[in-house]
Symmetry: C2
Amino acid sequence: LHSGQDEAFVTSFNALHDFEMGQVYSGLPEQLRAVAWRLLDNETLATVFDNIDVDDEDIDDLLQEMPPQKAVQILRNMYADNEVDLLQEMPTRLVATYLSLMPKDEAEDIRKLINYEEQTAGSLMSIEYLAVEADLRVDEVMRLVKQQALEAEAINYVYVLDKQERLVGVISLRDLLTHPDDMLVSEITKDRIISVKAGDDQQDVAQIVADYNFISIPVTDDNDRLLGVITVDDIVDVIDEEAVEDYSGLAAVNVSQTDDTAWHSAIKRIPWLIALLLLGMSTATLISSFDGLVRKASILAVFISLITGTAGNAGTQALALAVRRLAVGSSNSAVKNFLSEILAGFLVGTATGFSVFLIVTFWKHNYQLGLAVGIAMAVAIMVANLAGYLIPELIDKLGMDPAVASGPFITTLSDLTSVLIYFNIAQLFISHFTGA
Amino acid sequence: LHSGQDEAFVTSFNALHDFEMGQVYSGLPEQLRAVAWRLLDNETLATVFDNIDVDDEDIDDLLQEMPPQKAVQILRNMYADNEVDLLQEMPTRLVATYLSLMPKDEAEDIRKLINYEEQTAGSLMSIEYLAVEADLRVDEVMRLVKQQALEAEAINYVYVLDKQERLVGVISLRDLLTHPDDMLVSEITKDRIISVKAGDDQQDVAQIVADYNFISIPVTDDNDRLLGVITVDDIVDVIDEEAVEDYSGLAAVNVSQTDDTAWHSAIKRIPWLIALLLLGMSTATLISSFDGLVRKASILAVFISLITGTAGNAGTQALALAVRRLAVGSSNSAVKNFLSEILAGFLVGTATGFSVFLIVTFWKHNYQLGLAVGIAMAVAIMVANLAGYLIPELIDKLGMDPAVASGPFITTLSDLTSVLIYFNIAQLFISHFTGA
């Protein structure tokens, strides 16, 4: 590349795997990239851009290094789903420029795709699929597959459409390969079609693809017209993305970037911590209002962190189970789940409360104190458990992602209720153990 | 099925998708299943068993409902990876019986697969792949593909082996379909092969398949001999499984089953809670030892939960980031990550500590108290942050899954250090604010 060995560069670049092309290209220094995109053909550059992760790199800058005419040629050679992802990262003005340089019908298709809401099936689908009519023979369909194989993102299924472009069947490539050339494809067409609607949530789509072990799944509009196809590689990304979201939620920190600088990392954590700190101040205020009680029995201070901590742990467990249940769906009714969680909370609270009653009674030789702490612990756990269950359910009902209810939020909230429960119960018992 | 409409049952059953066959079959009452397996052929029953989730159902019971001869026929028709998963769920004796009823070489293959450690590439691979030698023409390879397409689990790639069965190249089905019949396949063979070793960790394999957008990936032994192929549907399961593990770890509760009964659910949570409770007792003991201090300044009790709670939240954040970084790998050196985390902890601690200093100073009109709480908060956060970072690193170094370090464990541990820091710092300042 430096010494004018252009041909050697092109040959060795083309020998790379698609993913590696993306890695190598985006890793080149800018002045070398300026040479590289002049040497490589549009299809290869499209493959490069198809394989750079939109989230990881400044992929839009890479495209803007070229004149718009060149950039548009590359965009047009990309798979539509990746093209749309890339355009969505760009300023509206630039998108308009690029679209104006495309043929009208192509620009129209892309504009439609851009308009699908994020995290829906529509936003994941590509429009390069294989489709035929029903009244063909195996060899005729195979000829079409061979013609279209280069453009199609997934070649494992051929979709059968009726005159109204409605999806009426699916033929697998495997069946095409293993049946005689002169057979009518209608005999090997599956008409029990599993498809999703363009507006469906990506998580639901991922669940279906994972269950059915599909390589791709068709996307239709409300009239069953085929709009596009989602391939399993995008589903893999969805599953990963949703898992990272859930995990981030539980920890109250976005874990999607792990190689942040210390400064960026701190910036991500501080807002959450300060918000939780303010919520925690209400607990401090509450304890402050019980100052008289603590003065009378300083022993009460000993168990504050034990009760808040344990109730917080129980709340986190209930939260994690509830968020997960909402993500994967439940075969039980809502009422059954609710009662089951109440009962589980009762069992957990009772077992833990009883343990702590025994420990405190033997440690401080004071069973009234043990009773106060044990009962407070049991009630605090039941309440935290219920909150951990109900809050994500509530957030889900409001149409938001239940994963936004973080573990630290639940523990900080449960600190407040736990302290309230603890001091009120302690107040009832105080006359019995202050002598101790 | 009830009224002898056998043929109708078989027809409608065969029209189902593979996944649905598994669902329907395992959902039948036992006496109907006894009719069903007599009606369905071995290939269909193999598809049924290929599509029942080993973890979800009592799949081994379903097989034991049939005489061993029938069961073995079904096993032999299953994909080897699913067959092995199923056998691994069974008592050793039964496995021996089944293997003894298979042809010797087949039993030998299965025995080898069973011996791969769980969570390695070897345990995921199937041995039904397409392989050819290099010196063939496109049409000759296509003929082989057509012959083997029914048995192979993935047909998108054909592997090229040399005389020693070593993997030397990969041909994509797409390339086979789009090149002339009389071309030598060596011209469309990729020799830059991305493969994994049988002993590789499944999480690393999943990362490669996700990055490269592969439909399947070949598995070799240490001499590059092709052993099998892992398909993307198994990778989807791995990604899901690993995500559930990480999530469970962070919450200190196994979330893999969300439809447990209340009793089972409680049984899962209680051991963790009690273990954490015992750890929490050390914090209580520590506070108890500072009883004199609390008697002198009951105001100290007000900030216990604020400091432990906030430090715990910071520790959880650091933990989540560290676990995630270990899972996806980092492009930075260990030293750089360590220094970066120290610095991030310093920034987070200082910002939060300063906020709390301001709040307490204005609330209690006592800047010495504000200073004590603020400094204690800052130091407690830095320590919790460091623990959240170091503990998973340490567990990873010991060869265990860092996800076992749970959020609740970190918060409970950080309660202890936070209280220690808080009371020691408060002791230094006490003469300045007890008057207030």
